[in-house]
Assembly symmetry: C2
Homo-oligomer: 252 residues x 2
Amino acid sequence: MRPSDLQLFQKTEIFARLGEATAERLARNCQVKDYPKNTMLTEQGETAEYVHLILNGRVALTAECLDGSSTIVTSFGDGEIFVTAAAILQQPYLVAAKTISPCRILLIPVTRFRQALQTEAALALLMVDRLAHHWRLLVGHLRELKLHTALERLASYLVTRSPAARGAAHFRLTEDRRTIAAELGMSAECLSRSFQQLRACGVRVSGSRVHILDVAQLKKLYRPVVPAPRHMANPADETFERSPESVHQQTH
Amino acid sequence: MRPSDLQLFQKTEIFARLGEATAERLARNCQVKDYPKNTMLTEQGETAEYVHLILNGRVALTAECLDGSSTIVTSFGDGEIFVTAAAILQQPYLVAAKTISPCRILLIPVTRFRQALQTEAALALLMVDRLAHHWRLLVGHLRELKLHTALERLASYLVTRSPAARGAAHFRLTEDRRTIAAELGMSAECLSRSFQQLRACGVRVSGSRVHILDVAQLKKLYRPVVPAPRHMANPADETFERSPESVHQQTH
DNA sequence: CGGTTGTTTGAGGACGTTCAAGTACTGTGG
DNA sequence: CCACAGTACTTGAACGTCCTCAAACAACCG
């Protein structure tokens, strides 16, 4: 563990809530590894060997089918600890973990982690807190998937990533299109088309750059004010009609 | 808390893992209430007042939209403790809780629960365990939704509810069609049609009674052995072709 | 028996996928 | 600098799955 790693570790919520002494004991002599983008960290069905703490980067949990199709269940970023359920329960992973950006990861051996869980009350409380957050994360995803269309999910995604809560905003997408699509539960083609549709709502994308004219307007998309069935709104609906000025605008 | 409630409580995994003394302290003087089917226990956006322990019955967590549509995120049965994330984090509920069968529920005030969490190590460890299980539950649901068709999800549902792991099985559905449909993320109509399709795979339903000729055969449905794209298999696919003998068989 | 509610069936349509082709962005080596 | 390949992204057409609506049917209860 290099000094720079220690710095990253100390900045995490995990560290802060554990207290220095406990955190130090937990991380002592642990490996820290670098992984390039798109590395499989763990495979479905394996038993947990390490608990992973992301010092830097982003990791996706992916579910795979025997026929080769796969999807992203959720993803975690800097400072998060993940795939702890399998480690805690000593059961095989339900999902695989894959880096979706270059990552630097602290690897805590499961045996040590499980031991610490028993002896350090602070760690148990921390895990209760983290797992509760993770639970809410998945509940949010399930709600999105079951209740919202692809377009609405994209709008929601952009809003949560927007630095501003309303008004204009511009920022960069940190992941490629295919990854975003998998995370939102749609095909890359559908994502592309949804971006096109959002032009009418004041969203401009060019590569990884995103410009939103009015974030508040986007929010309305996935919080329908009109309690009418979706298909009833279509006949005379102008919402997604391309405005004349935007039809032939090409990014550069 | 009546003696019969205490008996139910003592049979739960929660009680067993906490130990008698701690469990007794946690539940002392707590209310136990009966709820008929389809009662809203908590609403979306409220802050948690009680942690609920189901002594008897089944409760669904439902996500709702402003337009009135709603869906079931997951459900819990006897002996389970639920909506703990909101209680732990002192944040408003992301989902509502609704009984989907008559229920008898032990209500633990959040303040007491949170206090106990800090002081009783056993409770913290128990919650880590429960939350890990609940996490895996949702991961499973997300995987099903994103990776499997309605038909496959129903097959999976029936297999998990089947008392036998292979061979013939018969059992009863504990919930009505609409609830099952919501839980599986489909409309009641789609569920009905999926049941029809499963006749070809040796599934007979009549009211709440289910007869499965061969559970192992059902499992094949959602674990496709052939690594071919679904639509390629269609032209000459016999899987869902009704066998001559089954076409006109009616239940009763 | 009619009224209520839950389930099934049929028709049509919306949403999203797949496949295929085209276009734009990489980086590499000449 | 350009040609080139390789990859990522976009666009179009056709199709499949699932949803909605509406109506028929069944079961239950007064």
